[in-house]
Symmetry: C2
Subunit: 141 residues, 2 copies
DNA sequence: CTAGAAACTGAAAACCGTTTTCAGTTTTAG
DNA sequence: CTAAAACTGAAAACGGTTTTCAGTTTCTAG
């Protein structure tokens, strides 16, 4: 996947694209924003912006490899995070919060599965589902 | 997850529910039907049936644990398969076909991830994405 | 600078899978 | 049989996302 490790090699982005990128990037790795969260945060900095523009910015940033778009079973919208190394995601069934999980199935295992199933695997997506710390605490109270 | 291994213990289903169940079950394990596929096949056996009824039947069968509802990144609708043992799925990016993959991350690894992230994991969902055999053949021609 | 091309914008409408509402009809339990 | 519960299909609603439209802004030659 295309990625820009240095700012200097990154294509110049239109102002709004830059703004959307900053909002997603500011969360830092490990934080995740649903599309609605991105809207909300972007609107704080540029009140009049239309949701069409935000959608288009997210799509472009995703195509440029600057951010990752995540689709999780049970979630009704996409989530976004700064592009980075592959990892799994955890989503809380109760509050919907999403958290990075530092794990990927080994390349060897995936290659083996690809071979035995005669498929070409370009992407492996792993998600965990259950209850997050705060929801567990709240429930036990 | 609730499951009925013997027909005798399975709740009696209304005719339409039975029909939807048969359509999904007939595919056998390893085959997958998008919602639209289920409609199409069900309509062949009962022309007048409404899509509302099919949706409701799929939801009920899913709640009864008789079928599994699958949501895959990149797919625009749900897929259904007869309930069975946990496994991963492969989805072809080109034709959208879905195939079972006999693999689940080890319980030990998942337990370890749950502990180190302070989460309670109730479900693990793994999907592979790429090109299936027939699409690869077609492309190389 | 200027003219034209290319990129970008926001409102509104379209889209599409799915869920809900409504007004019944059918099935089940007693 | 009768009342409650379950089921039905058409139509409308829903919600996230994409497309269309009619411009406006930005970039690139010249």
């Amino acid at each position: 996947m295309l990625q820009y490790r240095k700012m200097s090699t990154m294509p110049r982005l239109a102002k709004n694209y830059r703004l959307v990128f900053d909002v997603v990037r500011k969360q830092g790795h490990g934080r995740h924003l649903a599309t609605a969260d991105v809207f909300r945060l972007v609107k704080r900095r540029r009140v009049g912006i239309g949701f069409t523009t935000v959608y288009r910015a997210l799509a472009k940033l995703r195509d440029l490899g600057l951010i990752s778009e995540i689709h999780l079973p049970g979630a009704d919208s996409a989530y976004y995070e700064p592009a980075g190394d592959a990892h799994a995601h955890f989503r809380c069934d109760l509050c919907g919060s999403v958290k990075d999980i530092a794990y990927v199935p080994s390349k060897r295992v995936v290659a083996q599965l690809a071979q035995s199933n005669a498929i070409e695997v370009n992407d492996v997506i792993l998600s965990l589902h259950g209850r997050c710390v705060s929801c567990r605490e709240r429930e036990s109270a």
